[in-house]
């Protein structure tokens, strides 16, 4: 299992990388390599060119920018996992990452790579969707921003041009004291989620839910925000009854069917995990007085 031949490029700047992508027909971007290298080894991918982003300046970093958390595309998943800034402001991301692969994968894997791979069961796209993230992109035409809801184009394909690279992601922060939970079902620790749920809650006065975000991954080509579930949570008394009602929406989604799981099993998992995630998020929420 050895890669087919390719021409290797390791640009040092973003404009260099963009220029390369602009002129190469059959090129693949190499970020963490945890997905692409396996495909190259198995010869499922045989690009003529590899553009390695690991030497590009200015693509990694974690910082607060106003009310949002900025993470550079080439930031290693492990660095995000152990970042005190992320732990304080965006604990959902940390919890999601504890489910992503294994230590070796997270040491090399990047947030940009995961977002662009758009694997249906991936955790990071689900978090980005849950938080209404903005994807920052740079190409021949310059820079632009894409709302996460518009980012997945089709199965494992982001809505970016062939000369564009994702440079970073902006995650609008939830208020202090919000509750969070990322719960997934996988066959073994670190495996891809069969189904995963990202839940965020703000609990207000008299335990009423002031804000809710419920997102599923593993059920279709893109992570799904459960708008119906969120609507029925808004204003409801935070507790098992409200969560059961919201979870029923999760259980009703039109889940995909494949060799890993049937549609009805995915629906059952979605309902079960949504309920559990919401309960956990509530435990962690600090009610606003």
């Amino acid at each position: 299992m050895k890669p087919a031949p390719f021409t290797y490029h390791n640009p040092k700047t973003i404009p260099e990388a963009v220029a390369l992508l602009g002129k190469l027909d059959n090129a693949k971007l190499l970020a963490g390599g945890q997905s692409l290298m396996a495909m190259l080894n198995m010869r499922y991918a045989m690009p003529d060119d590899i553009v390695d982003l690991n030497d590009v300046e200015g693509l990694a970093g974690i910082e607060l920018r106003g009310d949002a958390l900025y993470i550079g595309a080439m930031t290693r998943q492990r660095d995000i996992e152990i970042s005190p800034v992320v732990k304080t402001h965006c604990p959902l991301l940390v919890e999601a990452l504890t489910n992503v692969g294994h230590r070796q994968t997270r040491n090399r894997g990047t947030i940009g790579g995961s977002l662009c791979q758009l694997d249906p069961s991936a955790e990071l796209p689900a978090v980005a969707m849950a938080m209404d993230a903005t994807i920052l992109v740079q190409g021949k035409q310059g820079r632009r921003e894409i709302a996460m809801a518009d980012f997945p184009l089709t199965f494992m394909t982001p809505a970016i041009e062939s000369d564009e690279i994702v440079t970073g992601v902006l995650l609008p922060l939830w208020p202090k004291g919000h509750g969070h939970a990322f719960v997934e079902f996988a066959r073994r620790h670190g495996d891809f989620a069969v189904v995963g749920v990202a839940a965020l809650l703000v609990v207000g006065a008299s335990s009423r839910i002031g804000r809710a975000s419920v997102t599923l991954c593993g059920v279709g080509a893109r992570p799904i925000r459960l708008a119906e579930a969120e609507k029925c949570l808004l204003g409801a008394a935070a507790g098992p009854d409200a969560f059961r009602a919201a979870a029923a929406h999760a259980g009703a989604i039109d889940a995909m069917e494949d060799v890993h799981a049937s549609k009805s099993y995915r629906q059952q998992l979605a309902e079960t995990l949504a309920e559990r995630a919401l309960a956990t998020a509530l435990e962690r929420a600090v009610p606003k007085t």
Binding site: P5, Y8, M42, Q104, R108
Partner: protein
């Protein structure tokens, strides 16, 4: 014509300069260019962990890394874990005592993963050890003796300090 690059990689403290085909994996570079055969290939698709090395101090699957990506960087393999005089590291010694290896094929990867882990976690719980080991498969031992070795080594290293 094959795409080649000249790279300089420091492996276990020693600098090597070689010309390599850009598609060559770091694992094959270590094993067949430098003849450091302690790093093993069990799957070549990033699951079994037998190829785990330290790349700039962090564990990485050498089968999912290109040799050219190690240019200018440092790599530590299993051959670099024992003391310069040859004395087994506390972790290696613990593996020996707990029967933490049978065929020995997954062992280098296990040792490198646990070396990184114990450096950060001097007092791990058994559950934490098991969790970090999920990136390394073993078909022989059923893992218990490996977990025991990690805990034994951690205890001894804490006692030394």
């Amino acid at each position: 014509m094959a795409d080649k690059r000249t790279i300089t990689v420091t492996v276990n403290g020693e600098r090597h300069q070689r010309e390599v085909e850009t598609r060559m994996t770091l694992a094959d570079f270590l094993r067949h260019e430098l003849i450091l055969t302690g790093t093993h290939l069990g799957c070549e698709h990033g699951v079994c962990g037998a190829c785990t090395v330290l790349l700039n101090g962090r564990t990485a699957r050498a089968c999912l890394t290109l040799a050219v990506q190690a240019d200018g960087r440092s790599v530590t393999t299993v051959e670099g874990l024992a003391a310069p005089g040859g004395e087994l590291s506390p972790l290696q010694q613990a593996f020996w005592e707990t029967h933490g290896l049978q065929c020995g094929f997954c062992t280098p990867g296990m040792l490198v993963t646990l070396t990184e882990f114990l450096n950060e976690n001097p007092a791990p719980t058994e559950a934490e050890v098991r969790e970090v080991l999920t990136g390394n498969l073993c078909r022989c031992t059923g893992y218990q003796s490996i977990v025991d070795a990690a805990l034994l080594a951690a205890e001894r290293m804490r006692a030394r300090v």
